[in-house]
Amino acid sequence: MSASRVTDPALVDAHANSQLGPYLRGLWKRRSYGWYVAESDLRQRQITTIFGSLWHLLNPVLSIAVYFLVFGLILKTDRGVDGKGSFLLFLTVGLFVFQYTQRAVTQGAISIVANRGLIQAIRFPRALLPLSATLTETFAALPTFVVVYVVALATGTAPTWSWLVLPLIVTWQMLFNFGASMIAARMTTHFRDMQQLLPFVFRLLIYGSGVFFAIENYVSDQWMKVVYIVNPMYGFIGMARWAAMGMAMPAEALIASVVWTTVALVGGFFWFKAAEHAYDRV
């Protein structure tokens, strides 16, 4: 068995933090790892079920059915949505956008802890792990965004040019998810209890970002409205609803989303990288 040689040798400190340039280059060089993990994980996830890959589509459709039953038919939280499109589409967009971030960050949080074997065997820039988790969940979410178009057409929403913007919004959201994944991954490494806490954070967020109801029509207190609008998820959901069904969205939410994504991605990256050596001990 022959092998290829690794590097041009130079005597270097094995414990020094790698510099930004080499770190990013190392990450870029390994980008196909991310694609391959996504492909492998998605295939393996459904391999033991009867419907197999169909679950990537069945799962979101069933969850929409459940939430539509509760919020659309029983509780009727559709005030303010009529006339601007159907409540079903409103709910579909909100839920799928929210679940995409929830799944990406939940998987990103355990990406270090769950890859112990790989971490202990091979040296590589550890940001590759939250990156791969984000990519995997992005691919897993793609069918749900196709469902959005199907629901829109089925409920008689006229196609507009803004439908073409939806993929851009998802890409923007992916950058936020990658940043949030790095933050969650470092927190989970230091503080394993994060894994237990995250579901509650997201449960609070899902009610706080207007997934099930239009905030303007249900929240009257000015300060509460501000809290809703600056929450990162509200911006993504608002943008996606604007793109899919032409709903107006406050400019503040757009600004908040730009700020959140920049802070999560840039701040998250440097904060994650600062603890690069701590991940070896998981």
């Binding site: 068995m1 092998a3 590097t7 094995a14 414990h15 074997g117 065997a121 091979i122 040296r123 070896d280």
Partner: protein
């Protein structure tokens, strides 16, 4: 006296592959305290204890050398290897390595639910190899690890031996500048041990250096040019294989 004082930098650094300079490692480990009131009063909420795993270890490995490390269980051998690999934070001291170090451990299960083939690809990609390059090497890796038809089965169906053969094959996909081997040869049948020893020898010729931790003294005699005896986090002996091993096996610990 530290290793950097022992050597003349201008002359010797050029031929050094690994330099370990007065390295200390402290672990903080969680203890499972007895859940009694008396225990609580005595220790309070403190649930961690410090373990001093390495106490001022200094050594240097030259280019082309292969060093075997012996010592009883818990003497700090694995910690030392991890410190050289750069995956064990140091309390003090420093480690210099020429190029890239690969740590080869026992049965590192990469992704248990994925097939052996996918694990080889993932391992290679994480090391920064190109996919085409790995795929071209796949047949010889499969043959070397003796996995033939099992290569498409998930890793969790593998025996311990199969898993460590796969891990060994993945870790040796590329020639490391410094290869660190931690008991990786302890598992596997006689035929695989001979294959992997031969592989280690050829790697050592291509690589900068090899450091091998094992309880099997025969392996050290067969593949090392130097031996180090580590006990309670300190070096007890360092020198020619036969001298160190005879001292090690005659001293009661």
């Amino acid at each position: 006296m530290t290793a950097s004082e022992q050597i003349d930098p201008a002359v010797e650094l050029a031929q050094l592959s690994v330099l370990v300079d007065d390295v200390h490692v402290n672990f903080r480990v969680y203890r499972d305290n007895e859940a009694s009131l008396r225990e609580f009063v005595r220790r309070g909420m403190r649930r961690t204890v410090d373990v001093h795993a390495l106490r001022g270890v200094s050594l240097s490995v030259g280019v082309g050398e292969s060093v075997g490390i012996v010592g009883s269980n818990g003497s700090g051998k694995s910690t030392l290897l991890r410190a050289i690999a750069g995956v064990q934070p140091l309390s003090s001291g420093r480690v210099l390595v020429r190029g890239e170090a690969h740590l080869l451990g026992v049965g590192a299960a990469l992704k248990p639910l994925l097939s052996g083939r996918r694990n080889i690809l993932l391992g290679g990609l994480a090391m920064g190899m190109q996919r085409a390059e790995i795929e071209a090497r796949l047949p010889e890796v499969v043959e070397f690890a003796g996995l033939q038809e099992s290569i498409n089965l998930p890793l969790n169906t593998y025996s311990v031996g199969m898993r460590s053969r796969l891990a060994f094959a993945i870790a040796t996909l590329r020639v490391a500048d410094v290869l660190l081997v931690d008991e990786a040869l302890a598992v596997g049948d006689q035929a695989f041990r001979e294959r992997s020893l031969a592989r280690l020898r050829s790697l050592r010729d291509e690589a900068g250096a090899v450091v091998l931790v094992t309880h099997n003294l025969v392996e050290i005699r067969q593949s090392c040019s130097r031996a180090i005896w580590l006990e309670q986090g300190e070096i007890r002996a360092d020198g020619a294989v036969e001298d160190v091993l005879s001292e090690y096996s005659t001293t009661p610990t």
